[in-house]
């Protein structure tokens, strides 16, 4: 069978054309292979940098894929900064939601959410707020803003657009070779 190369590749076009909104610090780190760190959030216009970092941490805890770098989670949440800049209600929703989550984390673990060490503990905190408007909005936005990043698709073995490559008629539409005989 024809397999899909799942090694992450840095797609220059993504940054040149701004297909997804990725802070320049993240783009540079990704290009040279450095850890992404937290400096990327310092350019936030409307939300607090720590809030953006918490959103990225929540994004990974909501949709955890260990084979994905932070890059994709950061790209999926940075749009909230723009939305908050344009709409005070969004800013209140996000800052308020993160503040409550941090307070819950303080009460239970003595630290802010993003600093709680164990994923299971963070997930339990998220379960506590999953019926809130903040969590529901974040999750429903994230399911699109995370999985609709085109350069993330090959990492899952999905090949995306096909008509421009002549379809799959000569590219393995029927190449399965492991089924038991009937």
């Amino acid at each position: 069978m024809r397999e899909v190369d799942r090694r992450a590749t840095f797609d220059r076009r993504r940054f040149l054309h701004g297909v997804a909104v990725i802070p320049p610090a993240v783009a540079v780190a990704a290009r040279v292979g450095l850890p992404v760190g937290t400096a990327w959030a310092d350019t936030a216009k409307s939300l607090k940098p720590e809030t953006l970092q918490t959103l990225a941490c929540m994004a990974r805890d909501i949709y955890p894929h260990d084979h994905l770098s932070d890059l994709y989670y950061i790209a999926a949440v940075t749009t909230w900064d723009d939305k908050a800049a344009k709409d005070d209600a969004v800013k209140v929703l996000v800052e308020g939601g993160v503040a409550r989550l941090d307070q819950d984390a303080q009460d239970r673990h003595g630290s802010a959410y993003a600093a709680v060490a164990a994923e299971d503990d963070r997930t339990a905190l998220l379960r506590g707020i999953e019926q809130t408007a903040f969590f529901r909005k974040l999750r429903s936005d994230l399911v699109v803003s995370l999985y609709n990043q085109h350069d993330l698709w090959p990492l899952f073995g999905y090949e995306g657009s096909s008509a421009d490559k002549g379809g799959y008629i000569h590219r393995g539409f029927d190449d399965i070779d492991w089924l038991p005989g009937v």
Partner: protein, 522 residues
């Protein structure tokens, strides 16, 4: 290309350009009947289609406001998206999968076959399979349906091969790559399927039949058909004698226009069609047009659906090739010993990663969910298409609060599963799971129904005027020159994807309308 005058009162005006409206428009044009199609959506041609699920959804889907209620999970997960249908020239034939199945004889006689079912508003169709057979044959020929007219079946893709292997291990006999309105060889000026995938996003090779690039241009070439995109019908008008006289619509520039008509045919799919009739209420028809029975909007059916995903320890790449790549038909029979009436088909289905994430288990998050997506390349998928029970309370009504851009009440869609629907779905989930487990699935996931793609029954055919909205030709019982030409005329839903039957009915209806006009009966 024809361009008709707004005051021309000799026209047939069709609302909607999908399987029903597009086919009816071409058939009438071929017979020399001057026809205008009003289409709410824009005209996107093959070259405009996008192999990208969300971008295509934004381009093609009907996303105007609607509301929902009832026990179906769609009302909770997608409260403003009860249906996934298309707002574009060609209607839902742009994104349909291509499955083209004839009803079985008993499926035209649901009330007689199934008996009196508590809670169900069953009725026999006022037509029989025997009467429909020649029209089915015409429809299959014009659509180029595989396994009819000497047309070979499509080759099976990986997703089909998994289904076939599992089904045969279970002992299923009628397992094949379907009767599909997708060219397996060049035909009718269109090429053969390139196994692109993205059937739901508009076929970029044109191998799949759609009114957009078959019926509509053929009709336009006669000089008798004019298609007006971007024109949203808001009201059908009538005179003092009760005959309809024209259609008020809002054009692409937001201007209100009034097209006179000799005959009006409604083909806006089973949510918008009843909405238009209800929004056309007048002092003479206070409950809406063609609604003396009170049946307009009732008996909304959407098929008993669900999806089964099988995960394997090796790759499948289900997204390669046709989306509906094959079918198991053995469970389509009516066999009440299974614990439910009617039957269901199992048909392959694939989604790309973005849509799978959104629809696998709406609202779910955490590692159980993401571990399924991690195995995306190793998944196979099948969709259940079963006959659901018509119920009076499953219904399209006018929302009392929410209005559209033109200030008109939007459609509100209420749906509850019947006990028979639930029993059928559970059976289908079990059989679907067994198919994948028979060939080594390590995990099976059951996905709840998506927003409806098969919307049926809300202006149903009936022999008696008190039981339904239209007669056996789709002609309103109450108003002789008003017709319904889409799936809303279905009396019951059968275990069949509806498009072939909609097309067959439209071809038959065109002959009836042309003949009635010739005899000056309408």
């Amino acid at each position: 290309m024809a361009q008709f005058d707004l005051n021309d009162d000799g026209l047939v005006v069709i609302i909607g350009s999908g399987a029903g409206g597009g086919t009816l428009g071409n058939e009438l044009a071929q017979k020399g009947v001057k026809t205008v199609i009003l289409e709410a959506g824009a005209r996107h041609e093959i070259q405009d289609f996008i192999n990208d699920e969300w971008a295509s959804f934004v381009q093609l889907a009907w996303t105007d406001a609607r509301t929902t209620s009832g026990g179906w999970r769609v009302a909770h997960d997608f409260p403003n998206l009860p249906a996934w249908i298309v707002k574009s020239v060609g209607g839902s034939t742009v994104h349909w999968a291509g499955a083209s199945l004839r009803f079985e004889e008993h499926e035209f006689k649901a009330r007689t076959t199934y008996g009196a079912v508590p809670g169900a508003a069953l009725l026999d169709w006022p037509v029989t399979l025997q009467e429909m057979e020649p029209w089915y044959a015409k429809a299959e020929d014009r659509m180029g349906v595989t396994r009819t007219n000497g047309i070979a079946g499509l080759p099976g893709n990986n997703n089909y091969k998994v289904l076939e292997a599992g089904a045969k291990k279970l002992g299923y006999k009628e397992v094949h790559t379907g009767r599909m309105a997708i060219n397996s060889q060049p035909r009718d000026g269109r090429g053969a399927c390139q196994q692109i995938g993205f059937c739901f996003q508009g076929c970029k090779s044109g191998a799949k039949w759609s009114t957009l690039y078959t019926e509509i241009p053929k009709g336009e070439a006669t000089g008798n058909l004019e298609v007006r995109p971007g024109c949203m019908a808001v009201k059908i008008e009538h005179d003092a004698s009760g005959k309809v006289t024209g259609v008020v619509y809002v054009d692409g520039d937001g201007k209100t226009q009034r097209q006179k008509a000799r005959v009006v045919a409604v083909a806006g799919n089973s949510i918008e069609s009843p909405r238009l009739l209800l929004n056309s209420a007048s002092s003479q028809f206070p409950d809406g047009l063609a609604n003396s029975s009170g049946q307009v909007g009732r008996n909304y059916m959407r098929h008993t659906t669900g999806t089964v995903w099988g995960m394997f320890d090796k790759p499948v790449h289900m997204y390669r090739g046709t989306t509906m790549a094959g079918i198991v038909r053995d469970e389509a029979r009516n066999d009440p010993s299974r614990g439910f009436l009617g039957g269901y088909e199992l048909e392959t289905l694939s989604l790309g990663l973005p849509f799978l994430a959104a629809f696998l288990d709406p609202g779910a998050w955490g590692r159980s969910f993401t571990s399924a997506l991690d195995d995306y390349a190793n998944m196979a998928g099948m969709w259940i298409v079963g006959e659901d029970m018509p119920q009076e309370g499953n219904r399209i009504t006018l929302d009392p609060v929410v209005k559209d851009a033109n200030g008109l009440p939007v459609a509100s869609v209420h749906y509850d599963d019947h006990a028979n629907d639930k029993a059928m779905r559970d059976h289908a989930y079990r059989q679907g799971s067994a198919i994948y487990e028979a060939v080594g699935a390590t995990r099976v996931i059951r996905t709840p129904p998506y927003p409806s793609t098969h919307n049926l029954g809300t202006n149903r055919m009936s022999a008696k005027p008190r039981d339904g909205v239209v007669n056996s030709h789709g002609q309103a019982h109450d108003i002789r020159n008003l017709f319904v030409s889409d799936g809303s005329q279905f009396t019951t839903g059968a275990a069949c994807n509806p498009t072939l039957t909609i097309v067959a009915l439209a071809v038959r209806q065109a002959a009836f309308i042309a003949e009635s006009m010739g005899k000056k009966e309408i």
